[in-house]
Symmetry: C2
Subunit: 298 residues, 2 copies
Amino acid sequence: MDEQQIIKWLKKHCKPIRDEVILGIGDDTAVIDYSNDTYLLLTTDVVVDRVHFISGRVSPYGIGWKALGVNISDIAAMGGIPLWALVSVGMEKNKSDICKKIYKGILDLAKQFNIDIVGGNLSRSEVLFINIFLAGIVKKEDLVLRSTGKPNDILFVTGTLGGAQKRKQFSFIPRIHEAKKIIEIVKPSAMIDLSDGLASDAKKLAEASNCGFEIEAERIPVSADASRKNKIFSALYDGEDYELLFAVSPEYESLIPDSINNVSITKIGRLTEKKQFLLRYQNGHKSKISEEEFKHFT
Amino acid sequence: MDEQQIIKWLKKHCKPIRDEVILGIGDDTAVIDYSNDTYLLLTTDVVVDRVHFISGRVSPYGIGWKALGVNISDIAAMGGIPLWALVSVGMEKNKSDICKKIYKGILDLAKQFNIDIVGGNLSRSEVLFINIFLAGIVKKEDLVLRSTGKPNDILFVTGTLGGAQKRKQFSFIPRIHEAKKIIEIVKPSAMIDLSDGLASDAKKLAEASNCGFEIEAERIPVSADASRKNKIFSALYDGEDYELLFAVSPEYESLIPDSINNVSITKIGRLTEKKQFLLRYQNGHKSKISEEEFKHFT
């Protein structure tokens, strides 16, 4: 039983009973109807030593930055803005210097997005971990889910993909402002943030939307850091990009600009009625997106 | 530098900038003004293997129960009701049986309080930890802080104290209903939940309220599980009781019942203007509450 199976088991046992819970487990954040004109968004994500980073090989500042960034990215994927964070740190004792540097990374990124750190705790642990909880809000009409894409919707990604393990995962800017701008131009039919790699996350969006997808291999915007021999595979499978993948109805395709705030926006394919996950090459070659996925829990 | 020092450093660097943040770090939960008639309460707490429990010596079910219970207890201490939880679990792979039992403990307690598990994540980690985030609400007029006690206010505790390590910490019922009832009768001037032990937590309440306290040793309700030779010391220092300590203005003292829902309510002393932390015995002997405190992070 792997992570996905346990999550399936959990979803079955965690069906929301409260009326105000619009969405529980299953999207980038939970969605709560608690105020007149906004939804409350709740998310949490953890980074663990020797799983999401190797302490000693990366700056504590970067670890803190990433720990908050992955959560902000989840709020971005729902079209929301982040507001209040709680930070749990587990670490060995007598490491207060490292601890402060981790918090410095968290606090600097929090400042960029006007997020208040309103609570948390510090615990002894033989393995370093940082677990951040983040709450945000989204105007009700701006909420974007991953499950509402339609066949033939055009797929776009922000930024470039691949090789993020090298540097980007510890210094990325979550796409809050870009998501907001995109929604102002045309509200995507579905959106997800890219944490596990384009192949895996596109599949999540397509499956949640009851669709398949076709991605045009040569359109994928590959990062200069992509390190595999096959750069496209780097972009598909490396993970940790924290860009946005979103779907737009074909009638609005032309409204999407080439870039927002100097972040490129690239058309990479479309959702399909047929539930296949295809990669198309210009030479006519097609291949199914392989099962080589980015799995933390294996 | 220990946990308390890092938390002091953090408080200095995490002063809220957002108007809606009524209270950030420093009480049992954060308090957010986001709706007309209620405050949003946000809290998070973690339990870590070989710090808060020893896996193998306690049931995974009990570990899960405790992991959620400590958070519910924080909401109780603010006078609120818990609503939505997110659950992060870090554990070694191929432990899905243990994982399910942990979740079972969480889910059963969640059910008792109508809490929805609305998100979370599962990560590989060499050390088992469960980090739960819990949100709740409190009617604005019912919010109770730890920092608003006054000299001469009478101190009460719910339940009995000491020896909770043995059993109670893995099966306690957080005092949500009792807190609500107490507030209906008379709103406490200050309240805190007892996680680190009466000595330590009474000191936190008193210091936050800019007071000292006198506790009458023989009045402390000692649990049958209290295991130290000196039972009173067990009640003062063992910790993990998850009862409530609250202060009530002397004019309302007589309104507080002896028990609520079969949970005893016991007067144990009072807040004082003089910032001393005193234990008084019937024979006239007085002693300062010692520095022998319950510290996870040492």
